[in-house]
């Protein structure tokens, strides 16, 4: 009996929480006149018209925005996986002068609010003529600036037996060989976690893309979506919701495929 109650409570809770999302999907399938009339979920006159309308109504095809986001996300994923693993390997396995200090610095940057570097970064990128290009979003990821991922990988590498390194060393591997042949393959789970979170966070990241991008054909999904109502007038809620749903789909798809890994990654971040 208690169990039934618990299930009923949890299901009701989940429903209330997810209701806004379900309602948005339903609203995206209704003609505009119907959206503001009923809080129910089933559209009376379902239509895909909002999707067709929204796709092209900002004057630039929504496909361009999706492509721009995809390009940036792919680059960031590659950058993070590559350079964070190099960094993590050095911190977890190699001995060098200044290791403790540098490791402490790396950890400290996890907590650093981005705003404290923002103004200066903006002026540096401006001097490089990088404003209104993708570089300000991409280049930092190739310099292992997301210390959270470095830390995640350091923790993971520490759980790989050192004997494997020793065996490889006896077989004539140097530091690079050990990284390439032993660590990298065994690190795959952490690399996948890094790739997934890099993708989702970059896809949703609004602030950086807002300040750096301005030409319409270079906009990414969040920035374009935010300008949607300005561009179309405030009567186009249906089309707006349709495009909102489109922007959420990639994240949801990634979540459905990698659900276990994402939740495990989240949990892992909290426990050492």
């Amino acid at each position: 009996m208690k169990r039934v109650l618990a299930h009923a409570g949890l299901t009701a809770g989940a429903l209330i929480m997810l209701y806004p999302l379900l309602w948005m999907i339903s609203a995206s399938l209704r003609p505009n006149t119907e959206i503001f009339q009923r809080p129910g979920l089933i559209p009376e006159h379902p239509t895909l018209g909002n999707y067709a309308l929204g796709w092209s109504s900002t004057g630039t095809s929504f496909g361009i925005y999706l492509m721009n986001s995809l390009i940036i996300c792919t680059a960031v994923v590659i950058g993070n996986v590559l350079t964070c693993s190099l960094t993590a390997y050095a911190f977890a396995r190699l001995t060098f002068v200044g290791r403790k200090t540098l490791f402490g610095l790396m950890l400290a940057t996890i907590m650093l609010p981005a705003h404290v570097t923002l103004i200066a970064q903006y002026s540096i990128f401006r001097n490089l003529n990088w404003i209104d290009t993708f570089w300000p979003m991409i280049v930092p990821s190739f310099l292992a600036t997301d210390a959270f991922f470095v830390f995640l990988m350091v923790q993971f590498i520490r759980s790989i037996p050192v004997e494997l390194d020793d065996a490889a060393r006896i077989d004539g591997c140097g530091a690079w060989g050990i990284y390439r042949r032993i660590i990298l393959p065994l690190l795959t789970p952490a690399l996948v976690t890094t790739a997934i979170f890099s993708f989702i966070w970059t896809w949703n990241n609004f602030f950086g893309q807002l300040i750096y991008l301005s030409t319409r054909t270079r906009l990414t999904v969040p920035v374009a979506l935010r300008g949607f109502l300005d561009a179309t007038g405030s009567s186009e809620w249906g089309a707006l919701f349709a495009m909102s749903v489109v922007t959420l789909v990639p994240v949801v798809v990634v979540f459905v495929i990698f659900q276990r890994r994402i939740l495990a990654g989240m949990a892992h971040s909290g426990l050492k």
């Binding site: 169990r3 299930h7 949890l10 989940a14 929480m17 997810l18 806004p20 999302l21 948005m24 009339q37 009923r38 809080p39 350079t83 190099l86 960094t87 050095a90 001995t95 060098f96 002068v97 200044g98 290791r99 540098l102 940057t109 907590m111 650093l112 609010p113 705003h115 404290v116 923002l118 103004i119 200066a120 903006y122 002026s123 540096i124 401006r126 930092p140 190739f142 310099l143 292992a144 600036t145 690079w176 989702i200 949703n204 609004f206 602030f207 999904v221 979506l225 935010r226 809620w237 707006l240 919701f241 909102s244 922007t247 959420l248 979540f255 939740l263 989240m266 949990a267 971040s269 909290g270």
Partner: protein, 298 residues
């Protein structure tokens, strides 16, 4: 020493990209921002030294003080609520119920999407005068209001949005709960501890390091909230500056008015605020965080 340095060369090569980033994108810009904060700098001019002017101006700027207040209220209300929901649902889910994985995933979905522009726009509709919430209230005969257009309630819609995302700390709580050995709880039960007592006396102390970790992270994150306030208020922080988050005002000063020096000063004060709160957390944490029989580790 020389020999040690020579042996360090391979490691330094591995660290090279990270080190360039640390110097060029973190420490360098931090110091440069610090310098800008003592200058009058509008991006197109050469920064002009003004000493402490920006900092003294900050605390005479009513909109800045307003943004501080808004942000403090937001952090002080949303973080405890979010943590309480996360903990309560995690405890409920941890009782060996079937379908745990499904519930966990469903409750996590808002955290996954909540930071996006799409959800902020959805919120704008839900809490609007003609929005979903008022439709639902109408069914029960309750007169709705313009939740977002009235200064008294606008901030609360943003707090609700944050609390809605309690799934992320919940997942971390669940992992923490799983590490508490059943024997400890069974022993307490044998000793006659009721369900409530077991939670307060056994589960919560053993979980306290995880609570601490979540608290530190959530506070740091909440201080930096930006997207929902920006999108929902159309970039203005209104109505009547009631949703003027700290970072939103910083954005307005830097990229609306091009007062880069002023914004840099704001950023450094934010860093100090976050550092003080994190430090305070660690000091207070000593009184309630329990690290088991190895004593207090940090």
């Amino acid at each position: 020493m020389i020999a040690n340095l020579r042996r360090s060369v391979p490691a330094y090569l591995f660290l090279l990209p990270w080190f360039i980033g640390l110097v060029g994108l973190t420490i360098g810009p931090m110091l440069l921002s610090l310098y800008y904060s003592f200058t009058d700098y509008a991006l197109l001019n050469t920064p002009e030294w003004t000493g402490l002017q920006n900092y003294t101006n900050l605390f005479q700027d009513p909109r800045y003080l307003q943004s501080l207040e808004v942000t403090f209220v937001y952090v002080a209300v949303s973080v405890p609520l979010e943590m309480a929901f996360a903990l309560a649902v995690a405890v409920l889910l941890n009782r060996g119920l079937k379908g745990l994985a499904v519930y966990r995933a469903l409750y996590y979905v808002p955290s996954l999407l909540g930071g996006s522009v799409a959800i902020a726009l959805l919120w704008q509709q839900i809490f609007g005068t003609d929005g979903l919430l008022n439709d639902v209230l109408g069914i029960f005969g309750i007169e709705g209001r313009g939740w977002i257009s009235e200064p008294g309630t606008a901030l609360w819609t943003l707090i609700v949005l944050r609390v809605w995302q309690f799934g992320a700390p919940m997942v971390i709580f669940l992992a923490g709960l799983r590490q508490i050995p059943d024997e400890v709880l069974e022993a307490a039960e044998v000793d006659g501890a009721g369900r409530w007592q077991r939670f307060w006396r056994v589960t919560l102390p053993l979980l306290s390091p995880v609570v601490f970790f979540n608290l530190v992270l959530q506070i740091i994150g909440a201080f930096q909230a930006f997207t929902p306030a920006f999108v929902i208020s159309g970039g203005k922080g209104g109505p009547s500056d009631s949703t003027l988050f700290y970072t939103l005002y910083l954005y307005q000063q830097a990229f609306g008015n091009f007062r880069m020096g002023y914004a840099a000063a704001m950023a450094w004060v934010l860093l100090l605020i976050i550092a003080v709160f994190t430090g305070l957390n660690f000091v207070l944490g000593r009184t309630w965080v329990f690290y088991g029989d190895e004593g207090v580790r940090r």
